[in-house]
């Protein structure tokens, strides 16, 4: 290929207006130094023969021609970004979960995962919420913050939370009933260790603030007279 310069060349022919250069062809010939290149090469512009290319493999006629011309779909190079995180949600914020098994629980936010979901923990000892992913839309952010500096969340990402792929079971008549009675999957020990590691420093910083532990242990609920649009969270 043509050798590329390290920095692209600025044109030596500034535009007077768009489409009209300042210098004529003959002036530009002189400015670019084509006369010097020619002189170096004995009066002729240097000509390099093209490098011998390897002979292209002979193409076979295809076995199958499709009946109709099918259009190729347009190329899509979009890379999805994780959902925009609300400004009120920062690491260490106390969130209120609004849906699911832990509805109403107050929970500490750790970080946003690459899929856009929020990584959240109870802490487990305080309110029974383990390390869990939660969608930003199903969450109220309070203005209470917990000091999260002692927590290392580097190892957690979406793959950590992927479901275990179990082997497929054949649905034989007799086996059907026995297969149902299999015991619940136990939580692997390393996940328990991870939970303890994260919660250890968190609980210490929670116990510093009076009443915060009891606050996280309690569930949120709307009482009579509370107007959500007027409440400050």
């Amino acid at each position: 290929m043509v050798s590329k310069r390290k920095t692209p060349v600025k044109t030596r022919n500034p535009d007077l207006i768009r489409g009209v250069g300042k210098y004529s062809r003959s002036k530009m010939y002189h400015k670019r130094g084509l006369w010097a290149i020619k002189a170096k090469n004995g009066g002729v512009f240097p000509h390099h023969d093209p490098k011998p290319k390897a002979p292209a493999a002979a193409e076979k006629a295809p076995k199958f021609y499709p009946a109709d011309d099918v259009k190729k779909p347009l190329l899509n190079k979009r890379k999805p970004k994780p959902t925009k995180l609300r400004a009120s949600i920062t690491p260490g914020t106390v969130l209120i979960l609004l849906a699911g098994r832990f509805m109403g629980k107050r929970v500490v936010f750790l970080k946003q995962l690459p899929s856009g979901l929020l990584l959240v923990t109870g802490p487990f000892k305080i309110n029974g919420v383990p390390l869990r992913r939660v969608n930003q839309s199903y969450v109220i952010a309070t203005s209470t913050k917990v000091d999260i500096s002692g927590v290392n969340t580097e190892k957690f990402d979406d793959k950590y939370f992927a479901k275990e792929v179990g082997k497929k079971k054949k649905k034989g008549e007799g086996e059907f009933f026995e297969a149902e009675k299999e015991d619940k999957k136990k939580l692997p020990e390393d996940k328990k260790e991870d939970q303890k590691a994260v919660d250890g420093s968190l609980i210490k910083s929670i116990e510093v603030v009076p009443d915060l532990k009891a606050y996280l242990a309690a569930r949120f609920s709307l009482k009579s007279g509370m107007k959500p649009h007027e409440l400050v969270f």
Binding site: V94, T142, S143, T144, D211, A214, Y215, L231, V232
Partner: protein
Amino acid sequence: MPFKRYVEIGRVALVNYGKDYGKLVVIVDVVDQNRALVDAPDMVRSQMNFKRLTLTDIKIDINRVPKKKTLIDAMEKADVKNKWESSSWGRKLIVQKRRASLNDFDRFKLMLAKIKRAGIVRQELAKLKKETAA
């Protein structure tokens, strides 16, 4: 029952509608039957309908349409701010504002405090009941 709070120059009123809701203003002149010229240290002097104002007990001593500086000095002299904040009406408004700005965590702490206080009260009551029964 005669009226006690009159619309007069120097009467301090509370704005109850509009952009300046909740502000204390001084009636500085009367435009016509329905409107007053009204002024406060932190706002541009403007006219307001009387329906937007609620009169307070506080009155300051000024002439008709004083200069801003004179108004501010007169308000300082009459100590309007402190009189208002120590009046029961003013105190209620302050409490309302504080309650509205409570955080979720603050509301939780408030609930704990209320329960604690109720417990103490009930203990004392039980003690007193025992004494009178005995």
